[in-house]
């Protein structure tokens, strides 16, 4: 264990002057070789993810605008709200979030197992199948072939392509894991390996189509929430657990808390699903079980929050200098917020107002965007330069992306939280005619469109800069692009 003094962090304006020891050089070489082994698969996944981010955000803004202009593009079946809304959801979840997560997992697994990526060629196939699956599924939805189950709209053939791609991806990660050169698994790896086991099972069971009636509804809600529990949230947590200590330069505050957090997470989270059907035509005990599990989630969420906070405390000034840290810390804070909100939301008296309203949509976006996407952005800002061996050309563009993303999601969530709550209250007042309930949400739906557009703009900036890095455009830097001053331009290859 390396010795260190408390608060012994290289201050931002001091260079870490020490002679590179042999061990350090060896470690650096290993790290570079690990990154090299992960380069093409990760960049493939990232590039696909950026594409789906643009497509999905565009669908999202279109969907929101249709609340403001209901007759816009109203002549064509392809663009009707009921089709582009699921197109938005599926391209964002199975396109952007899943593929960016896959890229991050590939890189992170090589690093944390201290072994080069095994069976890397599988990822070429996986990426192709996965992308075709999402593309085919999205076209199918727009053409009118949705399966009609939320989060499971893709027709079977598209789902099969995605499942096949996922299995190939998982096989390579599993093999890399088998060949690991560490005798202990870092906490991020627990989440990653668990999700590799959980998610395919979940996806296959959900797509079997053997349920009917209200049981199918229960299965639908079990699937939807478990997709979050077993795939999307682990991705975000794996990222946060790695990047926060890595960028700050200090280990996670309490590994013990991390252990408790993981098993409590595994135990409670996947019982939550039926909190989507409070008041619905299902046995009361079933709903109660999910409410209890949802409230118990406070335990693992607190463990994570305390861990991340106590790792970052006293070092908050570093957020001024590191894009990755900014995105990831915001993401981590949103995780705490959205989870506590979720626990609260599942309680019956709260549900009585919030159920069926835009409040739920605000909550969903706080989770998928405020938590997961922000962490994925942070991960990509760290990983891409190390794989492409080229720095981000423009700190200003990074700043623009960060602010439009955060202001966008802030506006979006605040608008729908307030608007949704008021909508729920009005809906519960039988004296209010239904159309009046709709009318009162309209200003908030405007704010939602503005928030969504801000996010889309941020994504365009991000995508453009990603493209620049791939093209090796922009000034050649030899230090990470930062928010404050750009590093001086000099010749010489970094690392």
């Amino acid at each position: 264990m390396p010795r260190h003094k408390k608060n012994d962090i290289a201050a931002p304006n001091q260079e870490f002057r020490h002679k590179e020891t042999d061990a350090a050089r060896a470690d650096k070489q290993l790290r570079i070789s690990l990154d090299d082994s992960a380069r093409t698969p990760t960049m493939l996944y990232f590039a696909s993810a950026v594409f789906w981010l643009l497509v999905g955000s565009l669908f999202g803004v279109m969907t929101s605008l249709k609340f403001n202009f209901p007759d816009w593009l109203g002549g064509d079946a392809v663009w009707t709200f009921g089709r582009i809304r699921p197109a938005h959801l599926n391209t964002i979840m199975y396109g952007w979030a899943s593929l960016a997560g896959a890229g991050m997992i590939v890189w992170l697994t090589a690093r944390l197992c201290r072994t080069p990526l095994q069976l890397g060629w599988l990822h070429y196939l996986a990426a192709i199948l996965w992308n075709i699956g999402v593309l085919a599924g999205t076209i199918a939805i727009l053409a009118g072939y949705s399966q009609g189950l939320e989060w499971l709209e893709f027709p079977t053939f598209a789902g099969a392509l995605i499942a096949a791609g996922f299995l190939m991806f998982a096989a390579s990660i599993a093999q890399t894991f088998r060949k690991r050169n560490v005798d202990h698994l870092y906490v991020s790896l627990w989440y990653i390996m668990a999700s590799l086991l959980w998610f395919p099972l979940l996806y296959v069971v959900a797509n079997l189509g053997i349920y009917q009636g209200v049981v199918e509804a229960a299965m639908n809600c079990w699937y939807g929430h478990n997709a979050l529990a077993t795939w999307f949230t682990p991705i975000g947590l794996a990222g946060a657990y790695y990047f926060i200590p890595k960028v700050i330069g200090r280990p996670i505050y309490s590994y013990y808390l991390g252990l408790i957090g993981f098993w409590a997470f595994a135990l409670f989270y996947n019982w939550n699903g039926i909190h989507h059907l409070v008041g619905g035509p299902l046995p009361t005990w079933l709903v109660t079980v999910s409410i209890v599990a949802s409230v118990m989630m406070v335990v693992p969420v607190m463990a994570v929050a305390v861990n991340h906070h106590l790792t970052t405390v006293n070092h908050f000034r570093m957020l001024r200098y590191s894009p990755t840290l900014r995105f990831v810390v915001v993401g981590s804070m949103c995780y705490t917020a959205v989870s506590f909100q979720g626990s609260l939301e599942s309680i019956r008296s709260f549900q009585e107002v919030a159920h069926f309203t835009h409040y739920t949509i605000g909550h969903a976006h706080l989770g998928v965007y405020g938590f997961l996407s922000m962490i994925l952005f942070g991960a990509m800002y760290y990983i891409v330069p190390r794989l492409a061996k080229w720095e981000w050309p423009s700190p200003r563009m990074i700043k623009l992306h960060f602010w439009s993303a955060s202001m966008g999601i802030l506006l979006y969530v605040v608008a729908l939280t307030i608007g949704g709550w008021l909508q729920g209250l009005a809906m519960n007042d039988p004296a209010t005619p239904f159309i009046e309930v709709v009318n009162l949400t309209k200003p908030y739906l405007w704010a939602r469109s503005i928030g969504g557009t801000l996010m889309l703009l941020g994504h365009c900036v991000f995508a453009y800069q990603f493209f620049l890095v791939i093209k090796r455009a922009g000034p050649r830097r030899f230090a990470p692009a930062l928010f404050r001053e750009p590093a001086p331009m000099e010749g010489g290859i970094s690392a």
Binding site: P2, T21, R250, Y321, Y382, A479, L482
Partner: protein
Amino acid sequence: MTLPLAALIVIIIALVAGALALSGFIWAIRTKQFSIQHLNKGAYLVFDESEPVGQSQDMIFRPAAEKSNGKSHAAS
């Protein structure tokens, strides 16, 4: 299936699961799967000799005076 029967089944499942979990936990402690004294050891896995504890990544800020030294920092 009646509610009491369903409740019984779920409770049995929960008890079995709890027993499995408990036995797994006891097994792990008994066979010393993790070092309780040094539980935090795992937290240092993200660091190595070239990116050690105490050195922040991704945020080197050089004030104007030091820019000219031309030192390449480990950007990887």
